[in-house]
Amino acid sequence: MGYCVKPLAQITIVFGRRLLTFFVHLARIAKFFRDTLYWLLLAPWRGRSVRWGATVVQMVRMGVDSLPIVAVITFFVGLIIAMQSAYQLQRFGATIYVADLVGVSITRELGPLITAILLAGRSGSAIAAEIGTMKVGEELDALQTMALNPVGFLVVPRTLAMAIVLPCLTVLADLFGILGGLVLGAVSLDIPVITYINETTQAILLKDFLTGLTKSVIFAVIIVQVGAYQGFSVEGGAQGVGKATTTAVVTSIFLIILADLIFTALLFSTG
């Protein structure tokens, strides 16, 4: 009898412990998000201004510095989608619809998503590493003893910067993705440039474009929150920083895609 209970108890213990750690993390993230909202939205009304200088610095680092990579990658993705769809559409002699396909899939989905994933890898990891290193070097403690709240001081400027920069980059990504399709259409499908542009503008609705931008704001919050949270929870030296950086990128990419799924499903079900 005792032998039957033992493995079951073992499983319960292991599973229970996992579940418990999960909820502890969840509670901490919720508190962290609440703190960020407080320092972003409420604290400025109580005489603590947002650090706009630091926000601009972050905008340059996250935004301006990512311009080339975002442009090149989305251009390539535009090219790829154009080729893949042309391959299918050629059979029906409907290659002009390549413009529709590229335009709609880039603005609705791939522009925001690819930009967010790029920035999660580029800036999310940087945020985690930077804050994690500050934690290891007692810099976060130093901030606190100087009566400067680390969340207000470090996380708010980054959140603001990312929430401004990511939608802007997404617009750029949309443009370059469409440009990629346009180049393929003009070069190998013999679609006149004007015809391609006309077809694209007819296909894309303003709504598509705006939902893409809305998504990118949500993605921005995810990237910074996850990166900063991981940075703040670093324990024990360089190894901890490395681990936090990896976890930050993996978690934020997962959450970005999950949020995208939920958002798209909501839009899909409401028509």
């Binding site: 500050m134 403690d141 130093a142 606190q144 003893t145 100087m146």
Partner: protein, 267 residues
């Protein structure tokens, strides 16, 4: 004697199962240089973290100027912290900022002073620690001793009433370390400041301390001035002063047991 500026009452702290501080009660008075002495891992840094409100005790309380930092309101806590300077063990300078920006940061964030005034005050503080002309250097470009001094300048930016130093001479060569000690002495004479120092360096203790508390195994085993410390008969104090190593009890069977662990219980 005047009223204590820092009051610690029956402070207990645990890390998991392990109890670090086992009921500390201490009074630190205005304008004295108070040294908390102890071996590595005796909880002296933890005690300091309690005093500057970075860590919550499991039991007991810490009052700084009559305020409990952890239960105080945000405004009150902030006012309090502005009047406290902390020199961290690893300097804790912001590596992304220049030395000048590091020192100027509290002024920029907490006051509405003109830029030119902030610049002058920054230079003044850097000059005080012998680092004038280093405003534009990054922390990584300075030596350990210089970083410590820059961190000290930053701790002094807001003209604190209380200065906390965590192992001010840790990781420095003896000559640079003595330089830091003399700098603290100079500050003590120049400003009316309460200075709390956590250290295990006897040499600097005898140089700068007014009063000493020796922490051992989570308790205060000695409290008093330098002369009393030198004469004290407590074995822990003696061991500290005479630099004696821990005696190793020679218990053969016990030693054997620790080596082989539990695996040979049956024998």
């Amino acid at each position: 004697m005047s009223k204590a500026i820092i009051q610690i009452r029956d402070l207990h702290t645990r890390y998991g199962e392990h109890e670090i501080l086992k009921g500390i009660t201490l009074d630190i008075f205005p304008n004295e240089t108070f040294v908390i002495l102890g071996r590595s891992g005796c909880g002296k840094s933890t005690l300091m973290r309690h005093m500057i409100g970075l860590q919550k005790p499991d039991q007991g309380s810490v009052f700084v100027k009559g305020i409990d930092l952890l239960s105080a309101g945000e405004k009150e806590r902030e006012q309090m912290l502005k009047k406290i300077g902390v020199l961290f063990q690893g300097s804790a300078l912001f590596n992304s900022m220049t030395i000048g920006d590091n020192v100027a940061l509290p002024l920029r964030e907490h006051t509405r002073l003109e830029k030119s005034t902030v610049d002058i005050m920054t230079r003044l503080k850097l000059d005080l620690v012998g680092l004038s002309g280093f405003e534009t250097f990054m922390p990584a470009q300075l030596s350990g001793g210089m970083r410590k001094r820059a961190a000290l300048a930053r701790a002094l930016t807001m003209d604190p009433d209380i200065l906390f130093c965590d192992e001010p001479s840790a990781g420095l060569d003896p000559i640079v370390a003595v330089g830091i000690d003399h700098l603290i002495l100079k500050l003590k004479k120049a400003f009316k400041m309460t200075i709390v120092i956590v250290t295990h360096e006897l040499a600097s203790v005898f140089l700068i301390a007014d009063r000493i508390a020796l922490l051992h195994d989570g308790h205060v085993v000695f409290l008093g001035d330098k002369a009393a410390f030198k004469k004290d008969g407590n074995p822990v104090v003696r061991q500290f002063i005479e630099r004696l190593p821990d005696s190793e009890p020679l218990d053969g069977s016990k030693y054997l047991q620790t080596l082989i662990g539990d695996s040979f219980h049956g024998i």
